[in-house]
Assembly symmetry: C2
Homo-oligomer: 367 residues x 2
């Protein structure tokens, strides 16, 4: 997997005793951008000020870095810090966090499990990308331990969740804001890059609380993101999956924003699923268009995630509730243990690759 000049994801790192600042990953090192480029925007403890500069700056900076890291490597060599000497931080300040529900297979699986006598998809699902707001304040960087949440798991019972689950997703990070009431521009004028998201979910808390206003405490205890944000320019694009019915004008696709990215979910370093992002129904340009169609403004640092990525096959599902069919079909690990939902001590790692490009990983251990 490549961390070469075709990749160059951005993150926020610190050396021992020093303040966090922005870097770009190259191989097993991180380039200290404030030092290498003599630009104070990279001395900030988050990507937000750089992201706010907009698409031309994103492109020019990337081109400059590609040049420096190929032809002028000796010039920046002094500013490349080995990864084992740094701590990675949350790469951006999260403004609002929205989670969509864009996988046809995921939405169909959930429908089949919870409404076995009805159509799997609800009537609105093929007409708009269903989404909701999550808790921005509990988005944490990969490696942060995840405490098993307590809550009302059913009427009259408060205790630790017995159905702690994951959701393997991609997250899209907004760099360029809009004014309230003003239309958003093109997708690539607003969205800076892509991160990996694990939207941890307590299925018992969620099932009891979620009518009629949606998920709340079943999700708000933690959402993990990868430390590296991959610029849109680095990602191979493909046409989105065909849609029927034809979306309304405001949801018409703006180009090929399908993304040919393979995810991989590991529990305790054993692969349990490989969800293919290419199977997603709604593309991220459609998510952005929908989210702003009512006049809602964007802020620097807004994060919107795809919802669980699930392909049509069992080994392509992006959540345990789907893989184990709500706990009725446990998975066997090579240790001989089985899993329905997560146990204390389990480490979940989600990785993703797009051809030669890696998006890195998002990882968390249940405590």
């Amino acid at each position: 997997m490549s961390w070469g000049v075709d990749n160059l994801p951005y993150g926020v790192f610190s050396r021992q005793g020093q303040a966090p600042r922005v870097g770009v990953r190259h191989g097993d090192r991180v380039l200290d951008l404030a030092a290498a480029l003599h630009d104070e925007v990279f001395a900030a403890p988050s990507l937000n000020p750089f992201m706010a500069r907009g698409r031309t700056a994103w492109h020019d900076t990337r081109a400059l870095l590609q040049e420096k890291l190929t032809t002028d490597l000796s010039v920046v060599e002094a500013h490349l810090v080995p990864l084992d000497q740094v701590t990675m931080h949350l790469p951006f300040e999260v403004a609002d966090y929205v989670d969509f529900y864009c996988s046809l297979d995921h939405a169909s699986n959930i429908g089949r499990m919870f409404r076995p006598d009805s159509e799997p998809l609800l009537p609105n699902w093929r007409h708009l990308p269903v989404g909701y707001h999550g808790r921005a304040g509990t988005v944490v960087v990969s490696g942060t331990p995840v405490r098993r949440p307590r809550g009302q798991v059913r009427a009259g019972v408060f205790g630790p969740s017995g159905k702690l689950d994951i959701e393997a997703e991609l997250g899209f990070v907004v760099g360029v804001p809009t004014e309230l009431g003003a239309p958003a521009g093109a997708f690539e004028d607003h969205v800076f890059g892509v991160t990996l998201v694990n939207d941890w979910s307590a299925r018992d808390i969620q099932a009891w609380e979620y009518v009629p206003l949606g998920p709340f405490l079943g999700k708000s205890f933690a959402t993990s993101v990868s430390p590296w944000v991959t610029p849109l320019e680095a990602l191979p694009r493909i046409p989105g999956r065909p849609q029927e019915p034809e979306p309304l004008d405001y949801l018409r696709r703006q180009g090929d924003w399908g993304l040919d990215i393979e995810l991989e979910v590991r529990i305790n370093d054993e692969v349990v699923s490989r969800p293919p992002y290419a199977t997603m129904y709604w593309t991220p340009d459609q998510m952005l268009a929908h989210m702003t169609a009512n006049g809602a403004s964007l802020r620097v640092g807004d994060l919107f995630a795809s919802g669980t990525v699930s392909g049509p096959r069992r080994e392509e599902r992006g959540s345990l509730i789907e893989i184990t069919w709500n706990g009725t079909e446990p998975i066997k690990l090579s240790s001989g243990e089985t899993r329905t939902f997560l146990e204390d001590g389990d480490t979940v790692t989600i990785r993703a690759t797009a051809g030669d490009i890696t998006l890195g990983e998002v990882s968390g251990t249940i405590v």
Copy 2:
């Protein structure tokens, strides 16, 4: 209505050509706190830094101001600025915004309208304060025009909402944060004060989009708050409404956090409703306990709102969908006009009083 020393709400104001800073309202003037108290925390353009100082600082500052504004008025006189010379701003930076659903009468009315053949209340409603996350980035200060949102109002139809509505609520503003996974302390150790909230709602967009993940674009286009945040200390407290069944331990009330506050809803300066906050079922200490029970952290500037305040009588309902029973029973204005939902040009003003204390107003005009 009193803006005397028993009230002293905080806001953020600016004089022409000057930067926004923190003030306290006294009569028809605002006291410039950075100047009067020689404290730079009040030179910030939001209440957040002051709120972060915590409960002892809130109390001591209030006591100091009460003293200065009674016995030493001549000393601070020079720092009192007439309200007609200032612009009021959003008083705090909103971190996460949560909206609850705490009125028994409101939840019952909505249930009767939309599920006429079932129990009005869903099974979870009496067991926990139902809530969800809203869009923090579109919280605006009173006086900001509200653009009628466009959206999918039903399958295949995109256009302006034909069912634009209000929700009269109280909002609770968090000053003291918690760490992820750590328990929250007492309600009054975290919550700085109370603001008025109008949670504008597009009922047609909401009805089509909201299954299964809750309201999204039907709410996210704008949420208005009053410019003044009333400190908890200023509010008269009463016991909360009796609850059956007895709430679980973690939701046990921490004291008398019922609030005897009368709201008043005006359309184009004509009173259409007077919702009594004292009838609310879940109290704000219970909302805070619930919101953090799963380990979710609080941040400075978190806003959580009560949900629509509705009393048992028609003239006490806090939304038009309830007052007009989803448009089937229009209200007559004294002009001879009728209303089901809001028309362009309508101005909605929500005011509130607690005995002699006024909480001011939140107002907005549909454009």
